[in-house]
């Protein structure tokens, strides 16, 4: 068998039988629909969504802490009056020391 001749013949056969260029029905619509479903996510929307979730969590934690403080009032020596008195003593400590020195 003449291989070179057979090769030429088969290549010629492939040239004669060019493939069809037919496109399936509504192919372009399918591609566009696929692209629309794959559109890149909006980064700003993602950021806003994340912030809203964080805000809701913060409000929930604040409310829980508020409820806890209301139903479990602080006991012991550090009352509000003591705190203000201690604060005033600290601020005026140097004045008191000067008075005592005189």
């Amino acid at each position: 068998m003449n291989h070179v001749e057979l090769q030429k013949k088969l290549i010629a056969a492939a040239r004669v039988h060019a493939p069809r260029d037919q496109v399936p029905y509504a192919f372009e619509r399918r591609v566009t629909a696929l692209l629309a479903s794959r559109v890149a996510p909006d980064n700003m929307a993602l950021w806003v969504h994340g912030l809203w979730r964080a805000a809701v969590s913060c409000v929930a934690i604040t409310l829980l802490l508020g409820v806890w403080v209301v139903f479990n009032p602080a006991t012991g020596p550090a009352t509000a009056d003591d705190l203000s008195q201690n604060f005033e003593n600290t601020l005026l400590a140097s004045v008191d020391q000067n008075d005592q020195a005189q």
């Binding site: 003449n2 057979l6 088969l10 290549i11 056969a13 040239r15 039988h17 260029d21 037919q22 192919f27």
Partner: protein, 191 residues
């Protein structure tokens, strides 16, 4: 008024995905015809075409408009077909004893008188498809582009992204591969 290609591409790049549809409609016949050279099943052809268009959409920003859109798209199509060939290297080792009756008849006619075996016969088409399927991916691509589509080495280099010397080397090897396959046909059928 019908919008130009450049206007459609600009609209797509601005986020109007619907403007891509006329481009898909216009160039799909060429994409399908190219894909049918490398894939036999229609489902595979459609998968290749779909992948080409998805790639084209996602890489559209890299299209500079210096060359026609069609050239840019065909480069993408050929490269997608090559990826498909590399991923579907099946049936390459099977014997030629499974040739159909028309194919065997055509070969016998060729052996008896090469001139009597018509190139436009369906059997010849089946036989060349079978031979091409047995080639490696680079060999099949280069034989298709160089011998069947009659493209120049430079054109093939542009389409595939290979260098001109690499195309020449691959063409040389591809012809050798094809000769070996044809020799195997002769051995399987006539020895």
């Amino acid at each position: 008024m019908e919008r130009t290609e450049a206007e459609l591409i600009a609209a797509v790049l601005k986020g109007d995905a619907a403007s891509f549809e006329p481009l898909v409609q216009k160039y799909s016949p060429r994409v399908f015809a190219t894909a049918r050279r490398y894939a036999r099943r229609e489902s595979e052809v459609e998968d290749i075409a779909q992948e080409v268009w998805l790639k084209a959409f996602s890489k559209l920003a890299s299209f500079r408009g210096e060359a026609p859109f069609e050239h840019w798209l065909m480069r993408m199509t050929v490269r997608t077909c090559y990826d498909f060939l590399r991923g579907h290297q099946r049936n390459r080792e099977s014997a030629f004893s499974e040739l159909s009756e028309p194919e065997t008849d055509w070969l016998e006619r060729f052996v008896a008188d090469p001139g009597s075996a018509a190139e436009d016969a369906d059997a010849a088409k089946l036989l060349i498809e079978r031979v091409l399927e047995k080639l490696s991916a680079p060999a099949r691509l280069v034989i298709t582009l160089l011998e069947i589509e009659d493209r120049s080495v430079k054109e093939i280099a542009e389409l595939t992204g290979w260098s001109v010397p690499l195309v020449k080397v691959r063409a040389f090897r591809a012809r050798g591969e094809m000769r070996k396959i044809l020799a195997k046909i002769a051995k399987d059928k006539y020895l």
